[in-house]
């Protein structure tokens, strides 16, 4: 049954491949795509590995009764704690999902896990420092990025927690049964880290090639036509952030250059949405969450970022700068 689709698919790709090889320009562009994709993978690998190790360590070291004792029962307080956890478990967006899953398995609430997932890539010391460096130690801008990310991420997490229950986390990794009584060996810890690496890694590879292809093949000239209109500029910058899928350590350096052409509000939209919804997260969220929760996260964070960006442009930004 499966033989014919495989045969047809293989033939299609062989023909497509041979056509590509015959065209020098397309061949060069394909090589550029492959190079860009591998560079994303090489750069993200350490952060994913640190994420899966942090997840394994949470599993190894953190006890469920500690979580029950120290995490607040109140949803708002839980979201605030989740948003600030990144300061103590600093993982960038490549490795944040395994850590959020580890925390959830240990008993933190859905809102807290989601708040950590959405805000930790920005609200962590490494990224705060990188943003400060990129914007020449302009702490107003750094503060604006952190507060904006907190507002968007925490509000989205809070709303999602009140609309959905834990069953919306459809991936079985969120609901693993933990043996509290059995002691994990180091060997088991590493095997678990390896399993989680393969689980997250394949989505990294897909998103890396997708982002690289968009970088090379999708013309972005149309986006810059929007620079003079703040409504269009914000939308354009959000699209760009999603398409580029930059690491949170590096996106501020790109934003600094874009700030020469785009208004402040739209630059802030680029810095906020790029770490909440990018190609990697879209693929990971779609795999991990029920479709309704996935769409809810997508739409809510996009709308909140858009509104916040415009409010920065028309009011807040003028007061601050």
């Amino acid at each position: 049954m499966k033989f014919y689709p495989v045969l047809v698919g293989s033939t299609f790709f062989i023909i497509l491949g041979s056509k590509i090889l015959q065209n020098k320009e397309v061949l060069e562009q394909s090589a550029n795509v492959a190079t860009l994709a591998l560079s994303v993978i090489l750069q993200a690998l350490p952060f994913i590995l640190l994420g899966v190790f942090a997840s394994a360590l949470i599993r190894y070291l953190v006890r469920e009764d500690w979580i029950a004792r120290f995490t607040p029962k109140n949803a708002v307080a839980g979201v605030i704690v989740g948003s600030l956890l990144g300061l103590f478990i600093p993982v960038c967006d490549c490795g944040v999902l395994p850590v959020a899953r580890g925390l959830f398995r240990k008993g933190v609430s859905m809102q807290t896990a989601l708040a950590y997932l959405l805000t930790a890539p920005v609200i962590n010391p490494v990224v705060i420092l990188a943003t400060a460096m990129a914007f020449q130690w302009n702490w107003h801008l750094v503060g604006l990025r952190v507060v904006s990310t907190f507002l968007v991420g925490a509000t989205t997490a809070l709303l999602a927690g009140s609309v959905f229950n834990y069953r919306a986390f459809t991936d079985r990794e969120w609901h693993r049964h933990e043996h509290e009584s059995s002691k994990l060996s180091l060997h088991q810890l590493l095997v678990h880290a390896g399993d989680e690496f393969f689980d997250v890694g394949r989505y990294l590879i897909i998103s890396a090639f997708l982002a690289a292809a968009i970088q090379i093949w999708v013309p972005k000239g149309i986006l810059v036509q929007a620079t003079s209109n703040p409504f269009m500029a914000t939308g354009a910058m959000m699209l760009l952030a999603i398409a580029m899928s930059l690491c949170s350590d590096a996106d501020a350096f790109v934003a600094r250059v874009l700030a020469n052409q785009f208004p402040l509000g739209s630059v802030m939209a680029f810095l906020v949405i790029g770490q909440i919804i990018d190609l990697r997260n879209i693929i990971l969220f779609a795999k991990n969450f029920r479709l309704s929760l996935f769409i809810f996260l997508l739409v809510t964070s996009l709308c909140l970022t858009y509104v916040l960006s415009l409010s920065i442009h028309f009011g807040l930004g003028k007061l601050m700068f």
Partner: protein, 303 residues
């Protein structure tokens, strides 16, 4: 059980190949064509962690830790729900072979005009070569001094020689890179303009420029080449029509400042007039084709 063991061995092999690939890229000095020199230590850390996990996957889990809670003889890695042979089956693992093939089998491409043609940096009303890189107060770079300068002339980088007229040094050629040049344009414009500079970069032929102009360009990378940002300077040279795009050249010329024509549109050279505002513009008297440098990418100033 056999399926799980087979999957574990395949995963171990893939992890070790990833680790070997990183070591291979470091040894062949091609890794800096993918990621910034500043983060290579992270790649080394990845290679070590991958090797450790690979060994853990290779070594079978002790028999005493295996139970039969769900009829599949799973190793009790504290999970009843993890059916590894299902979640990480061979089909899903196969995707990890693609980056291995690219890493081992393909010579990395150095970013060039192809990456600029679809870029937001060239399509906007103000292209990248007409922008000034924002100034950084923290790490102010100094322009490297030419070896042939006298002691008095060597002080040009410091603030103690403000009386020295720039034109008096016109004949001295200073060598620097585009990043340093841009930073110094922001910090000490009076010491940068009307000076002779030797710069290296690749040729970008913007269709908006005249035939005797091209953009001498470099990419600046922070973490990896996806965040590459171009910087460049308009060069006027009689050799420009003969130069092919993406050729690496070493140019020597006088740096001027020229305004871009009406409506921020770059037009042919006769539309530029000398003024205090405008973009840097290098009038070249020597243009030499050179081979692609070992490290074609520049680092941002704060690193």
């Amino acid at each position: 059980m056999q399926i799980q063991r087979r999957n574990a061995l395949v995963q171990s092999l893939i992890l070790s190949l990833f680790s070997v690939m990183i070591v291979y890229l470091i040894l062949t000095e091609t890794i800096d064509l993918y990621i910034s020199l500043e983060v290579i230590w992270l790649a080394k850390l990845s290679a070590i962690l991958l090797a450790v996990i690979s060994i853990a996957k290779f070594v079978p889990v002790r028999r005493s830790l295996i139970h039969n809670c769900c009829g599949h003889n799973h190793a009790c890695t504290t999970s009843h729900n993890l059916h590894s042979h299902k979640t990480n089956g061979l089909g899903q693992i196969a995707i990890f072979i693609i980056p291995l093939m690219v890493g081992f089998g393909m010579q990395p491409r150095i970013l060039d005009s192809t990456a600029l043609s679809n870029s937001i940096n060239t399509a906007g009303p103000i292209p990248y070569y007409a922008l000034h890189v924002p100034r950084t107060d923290r790490l102010r770079s100094e322009i490297p001094q030419p070896s042939g300068l006298s002691a008095a002339e060597n002080n040009i980088g410091s603030s103690s020689v403000k009386g020295l007229t720039p034109n008096s040094l016109n004949s001295v050629v200073k060598e620097t890179d585009l990043m340093q040049l841009y930073l110094n344009i922001e910090d000490h414009p009076e010491q940068v303009y009307n000076q002779r500079w030797k710069l290296t970069g690749f040729v970008y032929k913007d269709p908006k420029l005249a035939k005797n102009q091209f953009v001498l360009s470099r990419f600046v990378i922070t973490c990896c080449i996806v965040d590459a940002t171009p910087i460049g300077i308009i060069v006027e040279s009689p050799d420009a029509p003969k130069l092919k795009a993406d050729t690496w050249v070493e140019v020597t010329g006088l740096l001027q400042k020229r305004i871009i024509g009406e409506a921020n549109e770059i037009k042919s050279v006769h539309n530029f007039t000398e003024t205090n505002d405008g973009a840097p513009y290098l009038v070249v008297n020597s243009c030499k084709i050179v081979s692609t440098p070992q490290d074609p990418y520049l680092a941002p100033p704060m690193q």
